[in-house]
Point group: C2
DNA sequence: GAGCTTACGTGACCTACATCACATTCGTAT
DNA sequence: ATACGAATGTGATGTAGGTCACGTAAGCTC
């Protein structure tokens, strides 16, 4: 599906916009393509945009001590991603975003989002709901973290995104689950 | 400080409202008092309100298998709490909220929030930002969970809310950190 | 004040997972 | 096809934290 149409359908699930309104909104986005491995948001840099994924897959992740990586989010089509802390507070990025599989995205600048939100009440409403869904997803993941063991979380993840199994290297799945790649490997090769 | 004044200051940090507008907004809230131990949102019940804490302390928590409890949030003054999943999606509660220390709260119904949001653009803006802050806090906690050991998370929590140390029984702190009360006990009694 | 419940401390033991080390397989560029 | 780096499998070993068990102290309730 075309980028514009995908965004239109996505937004229309939350708010009603006329075609003219949507065209106006869409004019504030910019289509962008990334190759596998390309860096989109980089630790320590300024962050000016958020990204709506049209195709492919991105990851948002945090690096500790230059050594360990924790994945906050695999961004699949119709998901939004960025370093929202840096974006909203106009600080330097602490989160990285890069491209796992060749991707097409729609980028929206912080400035344009706030402009659209103030010009169109429905757009503000849309972003409130989108953020709310993100909040709920994050809360759910936190609970799953406290409550379930690694195996259960692994199965939960694959049940939710079966595509990940083939799309994403296993060590990245481990980094999402918050365990070492060795543990994950033993887990599904079932060495009891 | 009086409830009304506290809410006014809280909102004014994000958006400007005239006195008339604020009075109108405030007229949709209801002052409510709870005693220590009182249940506010209960697993399996309908959820119609969210709560702005004026004084005291609430906790939002999840129960597994009727046995284990995980605390999602200690709600201190100027914090909002509820089962937002159930509230926004109009489903039954899966989260509980109760009162840790005698509390005064302002309750706002889901209906009134949506009404205010659609009537006053600034109110919608306020709630978008509030939710965004919650999202960022949740993401930060998730990272801390993956990254830090129990001791570091314990110290992080107390650094952020020193009041908790005296206000809240230790086993609830443990339930927030996601460890057993025994582990927490050994931790700060420093049995190496 | 007696009795009960809730909070907390601490020892013994067990388990899930981390870490390190090394082998093997896969993917991509030449 | 060859070659090299990245991804993955797997063994050995260490450790944080869970679970169970029991004991003490501190609040409530009658």
């Amino acid at each position: 599906m075309e980028a514009k149409e995908l965004l239109k359908q996505h937004i229309s699930k939350t708010v009603r916009l006329t075609d003219e309104q949507f065209d106006y909104v869409f004019s504030h986005f910019k289509v962008q393509s990334y190759k596998k491995g390309q860096v989109i948001v980089s630790d320590g840099q300024k962050v000016d945009h958020e990204y709506f994924v049209v195709s492919g897959c991105l990851k948002a992740f945090y690096i500790t001590d230059e050594i360990k990586m924790y994945i906050l989010q695999f961004a699949m089509p119709t998901w939004w991603t960025s370093d929202y802390g840096a974006l909203y507070n106009q600080t330097r990025a602490t989160i990285n975003v890069d491209c796992i599989a060749d991707a097409e995205v729609l980028q929206l600048s912080n400035e344009n989002r706030e402009k659209l939100c103030s010009e169109l009440h429905q757009v503000e409403h849309f972003f409130r709901w989108r953020t709310n869904k993100g909040y709920l997803a994050s809360q759910k993941r936190l609970l799953s973290f406290m409550n379930n063991d690694t195996k259960a979380r692994y199965e939960e993840l694959l049940a939710m995104y079966p595509q990940l199994y083939n799309l994403v290297p296993k060590h990245l799945i481990a980094a999402y689950l918050g365990v070492s790649r060795e543990t994950l490997s033993r887990l599904y090769n079932n060495h009891k």
